[in-house]
Amino acid sequence: MKELTLPSRIESVDEAAMLADEFARKNGCGDDVLSAVDLAVRESVANAVKHGNKFDESKKVEMTLECSDESLAITVRDFGTGFSVKDVPDPTDPENLLKVNGRGILFMRSFMDEVEWDNPAGGGLKVKMVKKR
């Protein structure tokens, strides 16, 4: 298992994606897994920096990566005020198609096999995403 702590800035998105890619390659993941993990890490870390920690650099983003024979699991946690995923409007609803934001969660759900959120003790929001190998 690999644990990372990242600052709440946009550059952390690239850094997290690069580290996740390196981790997945070292563990022998194929192209499909690499592509899905890249997208999921980028979207989840961007959400944590932008919507969770709101670019407050005193708040960190924590990421864990864990690999087994069956799957690769990623958690990304912010220290913001949290939110309910159920409250995020469906971006594919015709009335939301031309909205600028709100597609990151759809992408995470589309490319990963499992995605779940919880509000951990100590505050913030944690998303766990699993990709089967």
Binding site: E43, V100, N101, L106
Partner: protein
């Protein structure tokens, strides 16, 4: 170094923007926004975005395409997309935005569609 390079060509009254690099949260999205605003400021409102050189786009970049589309429409113009990679096509399909954008594989066909 910027994540994206945007170059401009003119074909009649259609302005073609050739994008190369990443359209992602941060510089890539901002560069696209600025390019579209500049064109609209110059009165150029028939715009064709050539995405053939875009290796990566995230939800923020997709949002910027939508924002560009809306901004151009508000000015009475038309924004269309050219040369989608398979990945971008997949993302536009998932988001149902293929129903919103006019998408072309051939530049000539795209240019003719403005007439």
């Amino acid at each position: 170094m910027s994540d994206i390079n945007i170059s401009e060509r003119q074909a009649g009254d259609v302005t073609i923007l050739d994008l190369a690099g990443k359209v992602t949260i941060g510089e890539g999205s901002v560069a696209l926004r600025n390019a579209i605003r500049r064109l609209l400021g110059e009165g150029k409102n028939k715009i064709l975005l050539n995405l053939g050189g875009v290796g990566y786009i995230d939800s923020s970049g997709i949002g910027e395409l939508v924002s560009s589309f809306t901004a151009v429409n508000k000015e009475g113009g038309t924004l269309k997309l050219l040369n989608l990679t398979q990945k971008i096509q997949d993302l536009l399909a998932i988001t149902k935005l293929l129903t919103v954008f006019d998408v072309y594989d051939a530049e000539g066909e795209a240019l003719s569609s403005y007439n």
